[in-house]
Structure formats: C-alpha cells, structure tokens
C-alpha cells in the first residue's frame, strides 16, 4: 500500500514538473487558425480523414511561403464530439491568438455561437450547423461557407424531381438521425411537399443509429416510398446501405446528404460493389483529379515522405482541403488589407465576405460569400456509385433558393 502511494505521488510530481517546464511556445509571427476535430467520437470516421486534408492544404500554402509572407499555423484540438472540450479548445485557441475558427460539429457551433460573436472571431460550419446562420446580418460571425442542411434538402428534392420526372402524388421518405442536426431539414422538406404536391414521411433513427431495421422495413414495405432521402452521419449511413439492401430496396432510389456520402461510408456499407446505384450529395469535388491535390502529392514527394493514405478517401479529404482553402482565402484577403499580418477576427470576417470565384480547379464550388449571405449559394453536386467508383451525375447547382431564403427570414424573426 505504501509502495503504491509513493509511486503515485512520484508520478504526479514528475508530470507536474514536466508540464511546468514545457509551456506551449508561440513562434514568431504566425497566423493561427483554431481548428477543431473529432478523431475519437461518434464522427471519427469523418474527422480522421477530413482534418488531415485541412492540415495538408495549410502545409502546402506554407511550403509556398505562406500568405503574404506569413506562415499559417492550424492548431488542432480534438473534442471527441463533446461540448465541454470544444469550449475549452475555443478558449485555448483564443489564447493562442487564433483569427478564425474551424468549428466541427453542429452542437458545438451552437454552443460557441454566442462566444464567437462576442469575441468577434469568425467560425465556420461547412455542411452542418445552423442553417439560419446563413443570414450574415443576424449572425455576423458564423459562416456556413457550404450548403447548409436546408439547401441540401432543397437540392435533394430537386434531384428527386429530375429522377422521377414529376413530384406530384409521389411518396418520399426522409430517414434521418434523431437529433437537432438531423431534424433541421424537416420544415423545409415539409414546405416543399406542400408546394410541389408530394407526400413526405419522416423516419427517425435514434442515436447512435446502429440498428434501423424496423424503419427501413417500413419505408420499403409499408410506406413503399418512391424515393428515399437520407440524412445520417457517423456509422449510420453504412448501416443504412446494408439494411436497404437486406430488404431488397434498390439503392438507386436513395440520395444521401453530404455526411453519408464518402468512400468510408460506402466501404462500411459493404463496399462499392454492394452499394451500386447509391446517389450522394457532395459540397466539395470528388476524386483525385484536381491540381491542388497533385500539388500536395508533389509536396510530400519532395519531402521524401509517402503520400498519406487519407488522400485515397477523397470525399472527406477534399472537404478538409476545401475548408482549409476557404480559411486561407479569408486570411489572404485580410492580409491584403493589412500587409504587416497583424490581423484580428474582424479582418478575417471581412476576408470571408470577400470570397467569390475561388474554385481551386473545380474542388471548391463557385461560392459567393457576402455580408448578407454567409452560405455562398448552397451549391452541391450529385455523384453516384457506379461500376465500383463515384461517377459525377450533375454539376454544381442549388435549388429553390426562394424557399430557403423564406425560412432563413422566418428564423430571423423568431
């Protein structure tokens, strides 16, 4: 007993001493991006691929001399998809002088929204988060910078319309993860159902979404949907692919929102061969055929290191590159106004709002972010699983912008 006590005390003292000696050093003027990631929580399947993409893009920019001569430091903190570590990581980033925050996770952007606005640091929530935050006037420091769930909803309905020819009298099933992020598109979908005259039924999958046999049976056998729109994330999309196959429902009548749309989800669903026909929505380009990706590969070759295996998982990796690129663009605009590099959150906010016509060779959609529209247009592409790989079906498009605008305005008055 005594022996254990002494070793415990000794260990604690050693640890405390070590930490006291080492303190996080801030290098000579670097521009800091505060980056959050989830590498161990419910969405680790995304985070472990997306965050390396972000880091690789920043490394590429630094290898070319940085932005206006200033190096960029992407400081990543993993928050296990929980909120208290996210808040603590926000404070840490603030301490390190971050000028933008790449927030990860819908509950996290909600939790940090008030702080970001108070501290005047812009935070991004691409492809997730609060759709109402597209309103840049009401939420000056929240930047969706990619299609929000409302835009994804309208785009999905538009795609279904093109697939079925008409929507009137058709039955659409919406299978979704039963949490705030999953329920967000419901009001827009119901609105569209009224406008276009189709019947829509909601099928909730409670977290953690590992078992959804009954809902899938209902969709396939009782409701007999003409098309299914899926809004699942984490491990659930893979499970859903398997379940739909198991009840014999054709996957070519399924379109998934952006977080069920990656190689890893298809692999989880049994592989590309099994998931033939599955339609996916993307907010970043898919595949390795982009100049910036080749540049990253060259950068690794020059350093004599192997190309990271995350690059093969192109959907989420490219999204990481997209998010990093947009942050760097905002910083670029900010540094253009203040060449000495001493920029603050206010400057990067203005920098975000100047982003337009920045497509990185097709990886990034032609967003136009303004002071009033922080979403940039809600552009998505549809890709299909065909013949063992992703095949592009449509180019960048957005649908029913008036409906989305109506809901954003209504949310603003609440």
């Amino acid at each position: 007993m005594r022996f254990h006590r002494i070793t415990l005390v000794a260990l604690l003292v050693a640890l405390a001493g070590a930490l006291a000696v080492v303190s996080p050093a801030t290098a000579s003027h670097e521009i800091v991006i505060g980056m959050q990631c989830d590498r161990t929580g419910a969405t680790q399947i995304v985070g472990t691929v997306l965050c390396p993409g972000f880091h690789d893009y920043v490394a590429l920019v630094n290898s070319k001399g940085g932005v206006g001569g200033h190096k960029i430091k992407a400081l990543e903190i993993d928050h296990e998809y929980k909120v208290p570590p996210a808040v603590e990581s926000y404070e840490r980033h603030k301490k390190e002088g971050a000028v933008t925050m790449a927030v990860y996770g819908t509950p996290h952007i909600y939790a940090l929204a008030a702080k970001l606005t108070e501290d005047r640091i812009p935070g991004t929530s691409p492809g997730f988060g609060s759709a109402a935050a597209a309103d840049g006037i009401r939420y000056p420091y929240i930047f969706p910078i990619a299609a929000t769930y409302w835009s994804q909803g309208t785009a999905a309905v538009d795609f279904v319309k093109k697939q079925l020819g008409t929507l009137k009298g058709k039955k659409i099933a919406f299978i979704f993860y039963d949490n705030p992020a999953g329920r967000e598109p419901i009001e827009v979908l119901q609105d569209l159902a009224k406008i276009e005259g189709f019947e829509i039924k909601m099928f909730a999958v409670p977290p953690p979404g590992v078992e959804m046999g009954a809902q899938v049976l209902d969709i396939a056998q009782r409701f007999r949907a003409d098309f299914v729109i899926g809004h699942l994330f984490g491990g659930a999309p893979g499970v859903s692919i398997k379940e739909f196959k198991r009840v014999g429902y054709p996957l070519r009548k399924f379109v998934s929102f952006v977080w069920g749309s990656a190689e890893v989800n298809i692999e989880a669903g049994g592989g590309f061969a099994a998931a033939e026909g599955y339609y996916t929505m993307q907010f970043a380009g898919v595949g390795e055929d982009f100049p910036v990706l080749n540049e990253i590969k060259d950068m690794y070759k020059k350093q004599g290191k192997p190309v990271p295996k995350e690059m093969a998982s192109t959907v989420y990796y490219n999204r990481g590159v997209l998010i990093g690129a947009l942050h760097v663009e905002a910083i670029r605009h900010a540094v253009a106004a203040k060449p000495d590099g001493k920029i603050t959150g206010v400057d990067t906010k203005a920098g975000f709002e100047k982003i337009s016509n920045f497509t990185l060779g097709g990886l990034v959609p032609p967003l136009k972010i303004t002071a009033a529209d922080h979403e940039g247009g809600g552009l998505v592409q549809i890709w299909q699983v065909k013949g063992g790989k992703f095949v592009k079906v449509t180019d960048w498009y957005a649908a029913y912008p008036d409906v989305v605008a109506k809901h954003i305005k209504a949310a603003g008055t609440k």
């Binding site: 590498r39 965050c51 993993d78 808040v87 509950p107 705030p180």
Partner: protein, 355 residues
C-alpha cells in the same frame, strides 16, 4: 508536529459543532479562500480561468451525485438528464418571461428536483444495478422528451440562447467574471452539502445506504428519504445545468447525454464515494485529466512522432489513459483521492512521532 487537536478546548455546544472547529482548519480555509478568490483570478490567463470554470461547474454536479450515490447508496446514471432539465427550465424562463438569473437558477433546480423525485420512484422496489439501469431509462426518456417536445426545446434545433446573467447593470461575460460568479455557487454548494451530511437527513441517508432494512425497522421512512436524496441530488444537477448554460450562453440537451452521466460517476468514484472533499478532488481530476494529457502529448509527442500521427494518437491515448487511470485508482485506492488525502494528512498529523 501538527498535533491538531492539542490544546483546543470548547466551552459551548455551538463552538464544538462548528464546521471547522480547529484553528488549523480555519487557517487552511482562510488561505484557500485567499488563493481561490484573490490570487488565482488575478494572475491566471483567461484560458486557465475557463478551465477553472469548467471545474467549478463539475464540482457542483459531483457534489449532487455523491449525495445520491455516495451517501444514500442509490446508483444513478441519469445525472446528465437532470442537468438538461434544469438548463432548459432556466433557458425557457429567461427567454419567455425575461426572469432574472436568481429566479432561473432556483427554478431550474426545483424543476430538476421534481423530475428527479419522479425518476426515483422505482427505488421503492428496485435496488442496486437494476435501479441504475432504471435511472438510465430515465435519462433516455428525458432526452427524448426534450428532443421532441418543441415547447420545451424551443424548436428543431433544441438550442435556446440565453442572455448573460446581469449583476445590476453589468453583464457577466468574461471568464474572470464568470469565475467569481461560479465560485460563489461552489462555496454555497460545499457548505450546504457539509451541513446536510452532518444533519439528521444526512444520517438518515447513510443509514439507508448501509442497512436499509434495519433503518426501516428503527423508524426511518426509507422511501421518503430515498426520494429526498433523488430530489436533492437532482436539485444540484439542475443548478449545474443552469450554470453551465450561463457559462456557454446556450442550452442544448446534446451536452448532457449519457457520457456526461458516466463522467460524473467517474468523478465521484475516483474522488471517493461519500465525501465532500472527494467530490471536489474527483471533479477537478476528471475535468483536468484530458487537458493535461493533451498538453503533455503536445509538448512531448513531437519529439517521437510525426505531427499527424500525434494528432491521431492524442485523443485515443486520452481515452486509454482515462480508462487506465480509473482502473488504476480502483485497484490501488478504492476509496479514491479522498482516502489518499486522508492518509497523507494522518501521516503528518503525528509526524515525526509516527510511533
């Protein structure tokens, strides 16, 4: 050397029953008060104060859970749900009725206490692990209700923004201001708990934990005291939820899910069941551990491994170390940090005359 009780004589019952009858205890409390109220907030950077704020919030929650699990012996995995009840009550009151923060905190706590008493009703018949899973059911049901009843949750997003608490005309928004705000509540909670467990109710709780059948025989109404334990513990949880909401500025039930309940259980077990100091130490330990691990890995990891590998490794290592440390504590010192501290204190009590 530190013969504490030597020469300390009391002349009245009140003096003898005081919370800290010994002069050395009083000096220690005074020194701690100076440190926590004075030195720390004035010298630490806002980031460290935000960590301290997280610790304070956790302390209040851990105290509540320890009353239920440590003193009354009823294992509960529903603590997170009670916090979310308190949080949403306060958030709804603040946004709908514009009520001031004392009312919100009180209302949040009372609502959580009521819900807690309801969840505790099965404790009449069910014991041990069965009761723990019944409280888990309570957690899931409450989560579902908040998620689906838009009157409570304020819409699909289930997030309600609350305005900052105001002290007179000053809104409390910086971490430093929050620090003092939270510290007041922590002190209140600690003093309340210390007095509660010394009182008649506290002794009834301990009787229920140790031998509830015998307690019933000697006339303690165990059902009433079990419900009271659930209610009081949930009151603390509700207050924790409200304070956390004020800390963040937003109420969202996804912050209070089952992993939070399990974290609080870990806090009181590592800290020591059935002790106030244990709750405080355990809360600090479990809250600070991930941060310390991450800082350590960031400082040393770069020495051995690639940055990307380090980034992938840190969070998993944190999970593993968390689990390993819990097991370590359970194996080495089952009564937690509290017992560790008592051993150290007892050792110095008669040092250097150990014989």
């Amino acid at each position: 050397m530190i013969q504490r009780e030597c020469g300390v004589l009391k002349t009245s019952y009140e003096a003898d029953m005081a919370l800290y009858p010994l002069p050395i205890a009083r000096w220690t409390m005074g020194a701690l008060a100076v440190i926590f109220f004075g030195i720390l907030p004035l010298t630490l950077h806002e980031y460290y104060l935000s960590i301290a704020n997280l610790v304070w919030i956790a302390v209040i929650g851990a105290l509540g859970l320890n009353i239920l699990v440590g003193y009354t012996g009823q294992v509960s995995i529903g603590h997170g749900a009670f916090m979310s009840v308190g949080a949403y009550t306060a958030a709804n009151l603040a946004t709908r009725l514009d009520s001031p923060w004392p009312v919100n905190i009180l209302a949040g706590g009372l609502m959580a206490a009521a819900v807690g008493a309801v969840v505790g009703i099965p404790s009449l018949r069910i014991k041990g692990l069965y009761l723990a899973i019944a409280t888990l059911a309570g957690q899931l049901i409450i989560e579902w209700i908040i998620n689906h009843v838009t009157f409570i949750s304020g819409g699909v997003q289930a997030s309600i923004e609350v305005p900052r608490p105001r002290l007179g005309a000053i809104p409390l928004s910086s971490q430093r201001q929050m620090y003092f705000f939270l510290l007041v509540f922590v002190v209140l909670a600690i003093v309340a708990t210390l007095n509660l467990v010394r009182s008649r109710i506290g002794r009834a709780f301990i009787a229920v934990r140790d031998q509830d059948i015998a307690a019933e025989i000697i006339g303690i109404d165990i059902f009433r005291y079990k419900l009271l334990a659930f209610a009081i513990s949930s009151f603390y949880a509700g207050v924790t939820g409200v304070l956390y909401t004020y800390f963040l500025g937003i109420a969202n039930y996804e912050q209070f899910q089952i992993n939070v309940s399990i974290d609080y259980l870990a806090m009181i077990i590592v800290g020591g069941l059935g002790s106030v100091l244990g709750s405080v130490l355990g809360a600090a330990f479990v809250t600070l551990l991930p941060i310390v691990i991450r800082l350590g890995m960031e400082a040393f990891g770069g020495v051995f491994l690639e940055p990307q590998t380090v980034l992938n490794l840190i969070p998993n290592l944190r999970l593993m170390m968390f689990g390993a440390l819990i097991i370590f504590f359970l194996v080495v010192e089952p009564e937690g940090l509290n017992r560790l501290w008592r051993n150290i204190r007892n050792y110095f009590r008669i040092w250097p005359f150990a014989y």
